[in-house]
Each structure stands twice: as structure tokens, then as C-alpha cells.
């Protein structure tokens, strides 16, 4: 089985610093790591490989310093890691990103399943999975909470539609965007910690870096990066300034203060 995993190297959202005045992210403030949702995609890929054999190829589009995250992916069980890195990919919105990833998958040749996380912690769009699927003309399911059947040519998954969860059968090849908590064939899936041996092996492994020129047989270069991006950020600002000044109370006084507030708010 040819398994493709889409991995986004993202800043560690619990450590990253923001430039509060400019409303931007200080990218130097933390390393890039595997988007936490994508760890589940790697885990599911390993389980599929165990059942059917095959290869797991990961594809990422990121600046060169993302190599650390890709070595982590190799340590976790990815067989081959490809990094799409080129100035011409820069400034891409979700459409251009999806086009670039889909082009790279085309260049790889045939695939049976593409796995990714439901969204990323930095962009938070959840667009890239469905867009890649559309560009490759394969079905997809997003916000997947369970993979309940996995055959050579079709799978059954549970997908969160919002109002309820639905059971969907997808014909392979297909793309699945994974949520958490997640079940695979009746077992709970949790990212595992890589073994020391695997980490050391991954340190020496080769990361394939592809540039825009490597995609020129499969892609229209005008659809990459900012050229291929119809959306533009016109301004941004830091949003977690709360503007709230908490009244701090202790112990029993807390109960009476809260009780009073709940009365004033009309809860009681």
C-alpha cells in the first residue's frame, strides 16, 4: 500500500512568542515541530502498513529549518520524508499550498491513501486536506474520529459533520483528515514516543528537498506561492489581550462574591 502523510511543521504553540505590536508571530522564538494533529496521521499510517505492507512517504512544505520536524517524522516511522522548500513557495495561502502538495503527490506517482491531521495549530483552516483531495480528484472525509474498516480498495470511517457523526464509506484512493480522540479498528490511537535507536537513525537519514523546478513537469509554476494565492492578509493584531481585570478573592469570600455576581448576571 502506498501511503502518503501530509505533515505541517508548525511552531510549538505553547512556547511561541508573539509580536504584540505588529500582531505577528516571532518565528525565531521556537523550533518547528510536527503539527500535533499530524502525529495521529503518522500513527494511522504505521497501522495500515502493518496490515498491508507498503511505504509511508511524508510530504511537507516549509522553510529549510523544518528539517528537525521531518527527522522526528522519520524517527516515528515514516520511510521517506520529502521537504518542499523554495522561495517560490513562500507566501502561499491554502489554495497554493494545496496545489503544491497535490503536485508533489502527482510526481510521486500512484497512492492508495493520503492521511493528514484535521487542521494545523497555526493556520487553523482545515482547508488543505479537502483541497488536496479535490485537486487530485479523490474522495475525502474530514474530522474523522474512527477508522472502522480498512480493505484494499475501500474504507469505512466515522466523520463529525457538526450535528452528529456519520459513517462514510470511501473508495480508495482517498484522503482522510484525522481528528482526536481517534480510534483505528477498535483501538484508541495515541502518538507513540520514538525509540532512541530510531531517533539516532533518523538523525543520519536523508531528507529529500524538492524545489519548484522539481515540480515543473507536474505543476503550473504560476500557481505556487504568493502568485497562486488569491487571499491577502491586509492587517493583523494580537488577540489574546484580554482587557479583563479580575477581581481576586480567596476562600469563603470567593463563594459569596460569586453568588452575588451570579444573581446580578441573572443566573440565579
Amino acid at each position: 500500500m502506498n501511503i502518503v502523510v501530509l505533515i505541517k511543521p508548525t511552531p510549538d504553540i505553547t512556547k511561541v512568542k508573539f509580536d504584540i505590536e505588529k500582531g505577528t508571530v516571532n518565528r525565531a522564538s521556537t523550533n518547528l515541530e510536527i503539527n500535533p494533529f499530524d502525529l495521529y496521521a503518522i500513527e494511522v499510517a504505521k497501522r495500515i502498513k502493518k496490515l498491508f505492507g507498503g511505504t509511508i512517504v511524508s510530504i511537507s512544505m516549509a522553510p529549510p529549518q523544518a528539517e528537525v520536524a521531518l527527522r522526528d517524522a522519520l524517527a516515528r516511522g515514516v520511510d521517506r520524508a520529502i521537504l518542499l522548500s523554495d522561495r517560490r513557495f513562500a507566501g502561499a495561502d491554502t489554495l497554493a499550498t494545496s496545489y503544491t502538495l497535490a503536485s508533489a503527490i502527482r510526481k510521486l506517482g500512484s497512492f492508495d491513501i493520503i492521511l493528514c491531521g484535521e487542521k494545523s495549530v497555526d493556520g487553523d483552516t482545515a482547508h488543505v486536506g479537502p483541497e488536496v483531495a479535490e485537486l487530485l480528484r479523490v474522495p475525502h472525509a474530514s474530522f474523522v474520529t474512527q477508522v472502522s474498516r480498512f480493505d484494499k480498495d475501500r474504507i469505512v470511517v466515522e466523520s463529525d459533520y457538526g450535528d452528529a457523526y456519520y459513517e462514510i464509506e470511501l473508495r480508495l484512493p482517498a484522503l482522510v483528515a484525522l481528528s482526536r480522540p481517534l480510534m483505528f479498528l477498535g483501538e484508541t490511537v495515541e502518538p507513540s514516543i520514538p525509540k532512541v535507536g530510531d531517533v539516532l537513525r533518523a538523525r543520519r537519514a536523508k531528507i529529500e528537498v524538492w524545489s519548484a523546478d522539481d515540480l515543473k513537469d507536474v505543476a503550473d509554476l504560476n500557481r505556487l506561492g504568493i502568485l497562486g494565492s488569491p487571499t491577502r492578509v491586509v492587517k493583523s493584531y494580537y488577540a489574546l489581550e484580554s482587557g479583563r481585570e479580575a477581581k481576586v478573592v480567596r476562600g469563603i469570600e470567593g463563594v459569596s462574591t460569586v453568588l452575588q455576581a451570579l444573581k446580578e448576571l441573572g443566573v440565579l
Partner: protein
């Protein structure tokens, strides 16, 4: 023909058009008044076309585009995509709005990729600026950053977070037009073979996004059995019980109850956080609540900064005493 007006995708796989769809129709009217053109509602239906169309017109649609489908309640994503692509090509709307529900966020990107349009996710606002451009406002970086985004091609496509716009007052004297469409199979090849909805898998037990008052519990809970105490408090306050991520990870509560970036984003009138320290992922899910009360043993817990009242203390003791006080109060009231 040029690009004009606003199209709204009406999410309609449940008991009827979703509340979020009505919110979008209200917003669409406001935007159409500024940029000109019609408000189109696009809906997939199996029966009772007139009844549904009348409602959509009452909530703001000038034109209702209906695609007839067999299994409205078991929606096929690929058929919805093909219908929308067909509608957008014919209507040429300047703006297309989708509800940013999981379904809407799965469907809209497929439509966008199919027609090569720009798409902005999970917006908190959409407005027309002084130069007449449509601007989309959205959070990014787990809610840390707010970005204003313009789309430089047509159409502008946006998913909008449910609950941010009010449901407009329906006006059943409004007049509108209904256009029925049929998708023929060669417009959507292999949709049915590729994607099959086998059935409803699980209903959601709760919709914490709709709660007016939320009692939310976190890592401070010591055992699964202890949840009962907080459940009782929530019940006594007429509140919905919710939780932060650690309790879902521990398997003590289901994800439908989870507030946060990877759970549900809520905006209640009152949010009571017990034993929650306030990791960024949790803050992203509750910071827009009207009034926040938090209880934590750690006086330096980050949640303090997002609270109106911060009680330094033990969540168990607090819950027991508040429960007693509320019961006494209610007893007196009777």
C-alpha cells in the same frame, strides 16, 4: 454577466436548515445592501421545496436555488460540492458564505479548489471597507492572532463561525423566486461510488456552544467519580457541564463536552472554570465569553488574566460551598 450579490450555502441535512444558515442570510442581506445584487440561498432538498423556500425567503433570500437530492438526511459531500460549483458558475456571486461547522469546513475547501477560488476559514466577521472591498476577519495561531483578509479574485469565499451573527427576524411577507435544478450524473461522475454515507453513526449528546451558562472542569478533578459533584452544581445553576482537554484525554468525558481549540469554541453569558489553569488551547475556546469566573489553587494560573472574578482556592471546596449556598437561596425563594 459580472460578479454580483451574495450566495449562502444552506446547511440542511438535519431537521431542517441549520441555525447558522439563517445567521448567514441575515449577514448576506447586510453585505448585499452595500455591494448590490441579490441574496441567493443554495439548498439541497428532497421534498417540500416550497415550504423550505418560503422560510429562506423570509430570512432574507431573494432567490432560492434548489438542487433535488434523494437522501437529504445522508448528505453526500461530493454531490453537495458539484451542486455548489454548478450554482456558483451560473450565479456568479461576489461573495459565497458557508457555515464554519465541521461539515461546512469540509465542503467549502473542495468547492474552492474546484473553481480555483480563495477561501477564508472560520471568520468572526465579514465587512465591506471604504473602498468597497469585502474584508474577512479570522483568528489564527490558536486564536492568538486576528487577521483581516481580502480576496483578490472572484468569488470571495468564506466560512463563518456559527453564533457570531444574530439570526434575523423572519419576514413572511417578503417575496422571492425559486429555481429548481437537477444535477445530471455526468456533472458529478463517480460521486456515489467514491463517497457513500452508510448512516448516522452517533448523535451528539450535547451542544455546549448553545449554552448560556457553562460550568467547565479541568485537570483539578482527581477522579472520574468526582465529576458528579460538578454535574450537580451545573444542574443547580441551570448550566451546561463542560471540560478542558485533559479530562477528554483521560477518557473521563467525551469530546462533545470539550472547550478549546481542538474541541468546541464557546461564547456563553457566564463561563465558570473550575480547576482549569488556562493553557492557550483552552483560552482560545472560551475567551469571548461575556463573564468569566475561575477557581484555581494556583494564584498565578494564566486563566486569571481572562477572568472577571478569580477565586484562589480549591475547586472541590468551592463547588460544595457554592452548591450549599445556591440550595439555601433557592429554599428561601420557595
Amino acid at each position: 454577466m459580472s460578479w454580483s450579490g451574495v450566495a449562502v450555502y444552506v446547511e440542511n441535512y438535519g431537521r431542517g436548515p441549520s441555525k447558522a444558515s439563517f445567521e448567514l442570510l441575515g449577514k448576506a442581506r447586510e453585505i448585499a445592501a452595500k455591494i448590490g445584487g441579490f441574496v441567493h440561498a443554495i439548498v439541497l432538498l428532497d421534498k417540500e421545496v416550497e415550504k423550505c423556500a418560503d422560510v429562506l425567503v423570509a430570512y432574507g433570500a431573494d432567490e432560492v436555488i434548489v438542487y433535488r437530492v434523494e437522501d437529504r438526511e445522508l448528505p453526500n459531500l461530493l454531490i453537495h460540492k458539484c451542486s455548489l460549483v454548478d450554482a456558483i458558475k451560473q450565479l456568479m456571486p461576489k461573495l459565497v458564505l458557508f457555515p464554519a461547522t465541521p461539515w461546512g469546513r469540509s465542503l467549502a475547501p473542495r468547492v474552492a479548489a474546484s473553481i480555483g477560488a480563495g477561501l477564508t476559514a472560520d471568520c468572526l466577521d465579514v465587512y465591506v471597507d471604504d473602498s468597497g472591498d469585502i474584508v474577512q476577519v479570522r483568528p489564527a495561531f490558536t486564536g492568538n492572532i486576528i487577521a483581516h483578509i481580502k480576496t483578490i479574485t472572484h468569488p470571495v469565499m468564506t466560512t463563518v463561525r456559527p453564533g457570531v451573527f444574530p439570526v434575523p427576524k423572519p419576514d413572511f411577507s417578503r417575496k422571492g423566486r425559486v429555481i429548481e435544478k437537477v444535477l445530471n450524473s455526468n456533472m458529478c461522475p463517480s460521486a456515489k461510488e467514491g463517497y457513500r454515507v452508510l448512516g448516522l453513526s452517533r448523535e451528539k449528546k450535547v451542544r455546549i456552544q448553545e449554552a448560556r451558562v457553562i460550568v467547565s472542569i479541568g485537570r483539578g478533578v482527581k477522579s472520574r467519580e468526582d465529576i458528579k459533584l460538578f454535574e450537580e452544581l451545573a444542574k443547580e445553576l441551570g448550566a451546561q457541564l463542560a471540560c478542558s482537554k485533559p479530562l477528554v484525554d483521560a477518557g473521563w468525558m467525551e469530546k462533545d463536552f470539550q472547550v478549546g481549540f481542538s474541541g468546541n469554541i464557546v461564547k456563553p453569558k457566564v463561563y465558570i472554570a473550575l480547576g482549569i489553569s488556562g493553557a492557550p488551547q483552552h483560552i482560545a475556546g472560551m475567551k469571548d465569553s461575556d463573564f468569566v469566573i475561575s477557581v484555581n489553587t494556583d494564584p498565578s494560573a494564566p486563566i486569571a488574566r481572562y477572568s472577571n472574578i478569580f477565586v484562589v482556592g480549591d475547586m472541590y471546596e468551592f463547588a460544595k460551598k457554592l452548591l450549599d449556598a445556591v440550595r439555601t437561596l433557592k429554599g428561601v425563594g420557595n
